[in-house]
Structures are given as C-alpha cells and as structure tokens.
C-alpha cells in the first residue's frame, strides 16, 4: 500500500502534540518542589491513584461537575469529550479486530473507512461497530451544534456570558469545530460510495448527498478532515485546549495532596494550563451579574497569567468572595492564585506599624473580640454580650477599647509583609489573654485567625458559640413561627465552612426561608468586600441590593446575617428588608431564664454559681 499522503497533517499534528505533552509534563513534574515530589511518590501506589483515574474519567470525559451545575452545558461538554473518546477507542478496536490489523500506524484507525471499504471481515461485529461509530459521531455533532449555538446565544444554554477568546483560541476552536463535520462529510461520502456506514452516515451518503460528485470529493474530503485534525493538534498546546491533557495531570496531583502555596509555583502553571476558559466563573461573579464588569473573572485572569502578566485592573478587580472558586468545574484554586499574584506588588514598607508595640488585651476565660467592623454595629456587640450574660458565660470583651486590625484586609490586597506585622503583634497579645476560647463576631477576623494565626486557643464565630450555648440549654428561645431569611457571609460560609450552626440557631425561633440557589456555600457576596479597593460605594450598594433581592421572596421582611460588614452593607443598600445580626434576632426571642433559675433554685447549683 502506498503511503497515504493525506494523513500527513494528522500524523505531524499528533506527533507534535504527544511529544509536547510528554516534554511539558516531564518539565512540570521535575520542577515540582522536593516536598511535592515526595508526597506524589509516597502516594502513587495507593487508593488515591484509583480515585484519580475515576475522577479523570468522570470530569475529563463525562464532565459531571458541569452537568451538576447546568445539565445542557454538561451534556455539551460530555458529548464532545466522551463522544470523541469513544470514537477513538471504538475506532481502535475496529481496526484491531479487522484481519491483519493488530499492528497499526496511528492514522489507520482514525481514517479506517478510507482504507477499508469492505467491512465484512468484521463478521458479526460489523453491524455493531458501524452503528456505534455513527451513534457517537451523532452525539459529538449534537454537542458541536450546541457549542456553536452557545457562542452566539449563550443565554439559551443557561449562560449569561461566554468567554471572549484570543486568536490562538479562535484558531483552535475553529479547527475543532471543523473536525467533526469534516469527518462526517468524509465518512458520508465514503458511505455513499461504498456503504460503509450505518444509520447516520449511510443515510447522509446515500440519500442526502448522493447526487454530488462523490468520486471527486472522496480524496479532498479525507484531506480536509486530516488537515483540521492537524491544525487542532498543532494549536492545542498554545490554546485553551491544553486544558484537556493538563486537567488529567492536575486531578492526579491534587489527589496526591499538591496544593497552591502562598506564591506562584509550578503547580500554579499546571493549574493555569488546566483552565479551559469555559466561562462558568463569569456568571458566578457578581461584578459581572450586577455591575457588568465581565472581563476580569478567572477565565481572563488565569489566561493572562498563563501567557504573561495580568494588568493591574485585572489583578485588582475581584472581591475575593470565592464564588468562582465554588463554581469552577475544574476546581482551580483561583482565589489563592489571585492573592498570590497580588502579593507580587508590595506597596507598604516593613516598619510602618512600629507604633503598635504597647498594646495589650485584658486576660479572659472566654475572650470576646468584636473586630473593627463590630464597633460600627454596636447592636451586634450588645446583643452578643447580653446573650453571654444570660447564659452565665464568664467573658471579657477584649477589644472594648479598640483593637489592631486582624491583617486580613492588607493580606487580601497583596500586602503580606505589612499584614504579617499586624498578625504577629495581634497573635502575641491575643495569646497573652490566656483565654480558653476566642469568640469573634467578625467572620473576616475569624477566617484570618483560623488560617494565618498560631493561637493557643480555639477560635469560634459568635454564631457557633451561641448555638453551642443553645444546645447546652444555657439559652432558650421562644419559637415565634415567623419566617426569616439568612444571608451567609462569604468568609463564614465559603471561607470557614460555617453554614449549619447559624441555621440551627435561627431555627430555635424561626422558619428559614431558603433560596436554594444562593445559600450556604453558594451565597452571594454583600459587596462590602475588603478584598477589593477599586469599586465605588454606589457599585458596592448595587451588589448589596441585588444580593438582598435574590434572597427576598416577599414572604418575610426580616433578614439575619452573621457579619457586621454584611449587616452594614446590606442595611445601607435598601430599605425593604430589615437586616439584623443573628445575635440581635435571637436576643429578641430569648425566653427569660432568670425566673426559671429562681424557681428551681437548687442549693447545689447555687454553690457552683458562688
């Protein structure tokens, strides 16, 4: 058999892409830190590998995560990835089952129908193979149709916005979109001439395009198919489609425990390459949905970071609310990467907080820390402390006369060294209180204490602590039967995973009106975020007002939250819904206990109290 010239583009493309992936994976793996390489080796032959294989199949081919978020979108991605995968696998089986076909050049199964027109040697498998190949081609074509439709009418697929792509991505996507129609065409022409297909290609070849000059089209059709494959493979490593091989590597590394650190690393490069720029993060972002700022989301930020450096606006225009992190189907640590990028632009010196040296907090059993923002919401402090009094908690309000900022705002804006000065000082003076537990009203502080401090006491948010008191029956509440909405603060829900405790507490007195779409870890940001500096107040208010009206269903005008910042922002932005802190609403429904204690008045208890 003469060498089939038309397969050259494909062969060159495939060789290039495979070689490229091999080289780049090697480089990446070699460049991982010693520690990372160690844990990968240590865990290579464990259950983690099996899990990673399963996850690669589930996410890389079936796109289960996208499917969970948006069924049509999930189907689109699944059809393309899984359909194509099956075509490759089945094509290989088919070629191998064919007599004398066990050892094949790689182009052989891909262009099988070109080489073999008589499929009878496949015997009983002929029917099933031709059917399945047609079936999966149809599946892929459906997905391509949906993808094409999505590019122009993204809303129809449940996406408000779709990513705007750069040149190399457009080249790759064009090649990709041509691959399957061209394959279909080539196979249909072949089927029209030789009856090699099944319900799909035979039908097209023999009933639709039968009066075209098929003989003349035969070679050009296979050439075109091969060229589109070749172009796609050549473009792949430089385009967003690099995500296809990289996602697999990422899944494995993540399963072995490799994570983003506090600065960019090789793992970051891998994560950047694993972003498919699918644009799901754009819709998750309130800067886009409320303010129409739709060009700074991770899809663009990661892209620019992969090719060079994102500009200042791109780097800074993000609330760090972590909604995109929750939405990302690949699970890229987008928020950490953005923080790390910000860290490369220090603006503050290293001796700017020398003035802090003398500060001290009083000693305490339960140390209550209101935080900076807490001092602007005296009702939060007053209610929390009233509930503490009621429950007989032995506490000291440590930052009654003010405090040092926890450092999170500086840290979120790239000023790690400056933040570290605050963290170190604060860490020491909080530890010096010798408290058994630190309770704070501010989720921003709580998150910082948990993640970046080395405190010698556990840290609880006041919603957790109050819920514990209620569970221990130190606080009892009237059941009002009233409805209430709960707004999850970003730092509390996504930042610390505290979503159950506030709800449990509220349920003592209220019926929760839950909006499933924006609740718990999917909650909306109040807009007050300290992670961003370049939004104006009116913009913040617009986000806040949207956040309230996404939760508001007209059944109740009462909204509880658990963050002084959220409370202030949400209350400022609108006048329809009354915004209260969780401690405030619970205090309003407290079942006065003092009488009970008096009536029970057991001597033993009295002794303990004295």
């Amino acid at each position: 058999m003469r060498y089939p010239t038309f397969t050259l583009p494909f062969t060159i493309g495939l060789s290039f892409v495979l070689l490229y992936i091999l080289v780049i994976w090697t480089i990446w793996i070699v460049r991982l830190s010693r520690r990372e390489q160690k844990i990968v080796w240590k865990r290579l032959f464990t259950l983690r590998t099996i899990k990673a294989i399963w996850e690669s199949f589930r996410e890389g081919l079936l796109h289960h995560n996208i499917y969970k978020k948006n069924a049509v979108l999930g189907f689109m991605h699944m059809g393309l990835a899984f359909g194509w995968f099956m075509l490759i696998v089945l094509g290989n089986f088919e070629a191998r089952l064919y007599p004398h076909g066990v050892i094949n050049p790689p182009y052989y199964p891909i262009f099988f129908e070109f080489f073999r027109h008589d499929l009878t040697p496949l015997h009983e498998y002929e029917e099933i193979f031709t059917f399945l190949m047609d079936f999966f081609l149809l599946l892929v074509m459906t997905s391509i149709g949906l993808a094409f439709f999505k590019r122009f009418r993204s809303r129809a697929l449940g996406m408000r916005r779709t990513t705007k792509h750069i040149l190399i991505d457009r080249v790759a996507i064009t090649a990709l979109w041509f691959i399957f129609p061209l394959r279909l065409f080539a196979e249909s022409v072949t089927a029209g001439l030789y009856n090699t297909g099944h319900f799909f290609t035979n039908f097209l070849g023999q009933w639709v395009i039968y009066n075209l000059p098929l003989d003349y089209l035969y070679y050009p059709a296979w050439w075109a198919y091969s060229i589109s494959l070749g172009v796609f493979f050549i473009a792949l490593p430089f385009s967003r489609y690099m995500h296809i091989p990289t996602e697999i590597l990422l899944i494995f590394l993540r399963k072995y425990g490799v994570k983003e650190k506090n600065n960019h690393s090789t793992f970051t490069t891998i994560e950047l390459n694993a972003c498919s720029r699918c644009g799901i993060c754009i819709d998750a972002c309130q800067l886009s949905t409320t303010l129409n700022i739709s060009d700074t989301q991770p899809a663009y930020f990661l892209r620019d970071l992969r090719y060079s450096k994102p500009n200042e606006r791109l780097r800074e225009t993000c609330m760090l609310c972590m909604r995109c992190l929750d939405a990302c189907p690949v699970g890229i640590e987008v928020t950490q990467i953005r923080k790390n990028e910000r860290n490369e632009f220090p603006l503050f010196g290293t001796s700017n907080y020398d003035y802090l040296s003398e500060h001290k907090y009083p000693k305490a059993k339960v140390a209550y820390f209101a935080g900076c923002m807490g001092h602007l919401t005296p009702s939060v402090i007053k209610s929390t402390l009233a509930l503490f009094d009621e429950a007989g908690v032995d506490y000291t309000f440590i930052d009654k006369d003010g405090s040092i900022c926890c450092g999170r705002p500086l840290q979120q804006n790239g000023q790690v060294d400056a933040a570290k000065q605050l963290i170190d000082k604060n860490n020491t003076i909080i530890n010096e209180t010798n408290a058994d537990v630190l309770v704070t009203s501010c989720p921003i502080c709580a998150s910082e204490f948990k993640h970046n401090y080395r405190l010698n006491m556990p840290v609880l948010h006041h919603s957790q602590f109050l819920n514990d008191l209620a569970k221990q029956h130190k606080l009892t509440f009237k059941n009002t039967g009233e409805k209430i909405i709960y707004h999850d603060p970003c730092e509390l829900s996504r930042g610390l995973g505290i979503t159950k405790e506030p709800r449990e507490l509220l349920k003592n007195s209220f019926i929760l009106e839950e909006n499933k779409k924006n609740t718990g870890e999917k909650s909306l940001c109040c807009g007050g975020s300290l992670g961003i500096t370049n939004t104006s107040l009116p913009q913040k208010m617009a986000i806040a007002s949207d956040a309230v009206f996404q939760l508001y269903d007209g059944k109740t005008n009462l909204l509880a939250t658990a963050c002084p910042m959220c409370k202030k922002t949400l209350a400022m932005a609108q006048e329809t819904v009354k915004v209260l802190d969780i401690a405030e609403v619970m205090l309003n429904n407290l079942e006065p206990k003092k009488k009970k204690v008096q009536s029970q008045k057991e001597p033993a208890e009295a002794e303990v109290l004295s």
């Binding site: 603006l347 700017n352 923002m373 450092g407 705002p409 804006n413 300290l530 107040l537």
Partner: protein
C-alpha cells in the same frame, strides 16, 4: 557647625503659588471621590490605626491638596486598610482605594 544664633524655620505658610499639586491631580484622575471630602473627620475618628498613632486619613488627603507630598507618602503607610472609614464616610469617599493609590504613587513619583 557655625552657630548663627537661629535655626531654619519649618515651613509655616502654605505657599499655594509654589505648591506641588501633581499628586492631588493624579489621585483625583484615578478616583474622583478624592475631591469629595468635606473634612468632617469621621474617617479619622473611627480609624483603627488612629487609635495608636497620629494617622488621619482626612489630614493626609488634606495635606496632599496643599502640596505636602513627601509627608503623605510616609503617613499613608500607617493605614491598616481595615475599611472602617469606608463605612462611615458621608460622602462615599473610597478611602482604601485612595490609600492604595497613594502607595502606588509612592513608587511612581520621586518625592
């Protein structure tokens, strides 16, 4: 050192004919709320840093408007970015953004 019987006096007059208002202009171009201040002092009063040191956002921006740039750069570093001032400003001045801009200007402008 020769003693002339007097020492140079610190500048006690704002000479607006010679004042360097380039930073004020630069900031206002990047954040228009820079010019919205009515000097009510809410920011300085609520300031977390202001409790420990003489840092005052109001004074900082005011001195920039009078051309005292080098002082502005050293002062702005005392800010903790905690964001309380943003929540109390009656004129919606984007205080944190302005502090960040001043810090950026510190790297761009040569005082």
């Amino acid at each position: 050192m020769i003693d002339f019987g007097y020492t140079p006096m610190p500048i006690t007059v704002h000479n607006m004919d010679k004042a360097d208002l380039s930073l004020a202009k630069w900031l206002a171009e990047r954040d228009e709320t820079f010019n919205h201040c009515i000097s009510c002092g809410s920011c300085a009063a609520t300031c977390t840093a202001g409790k420990f040191t003489d840092f005052s956002f109001r004074e900082l921006t005011h001195s920039i408007r009078r051309g005292e740039i080098s002082k502005a750069f050293s002062e702005s570093e005392k800010c903790m970015l905690c964001g309380k001032c943003i929540l109390v400003c009656p004129r919606n001045v984007n205080t944190r953004n302005i502090v960040m801009l001043i810090r950026k200007a510190n790297q761009i402008f040569k005082p």
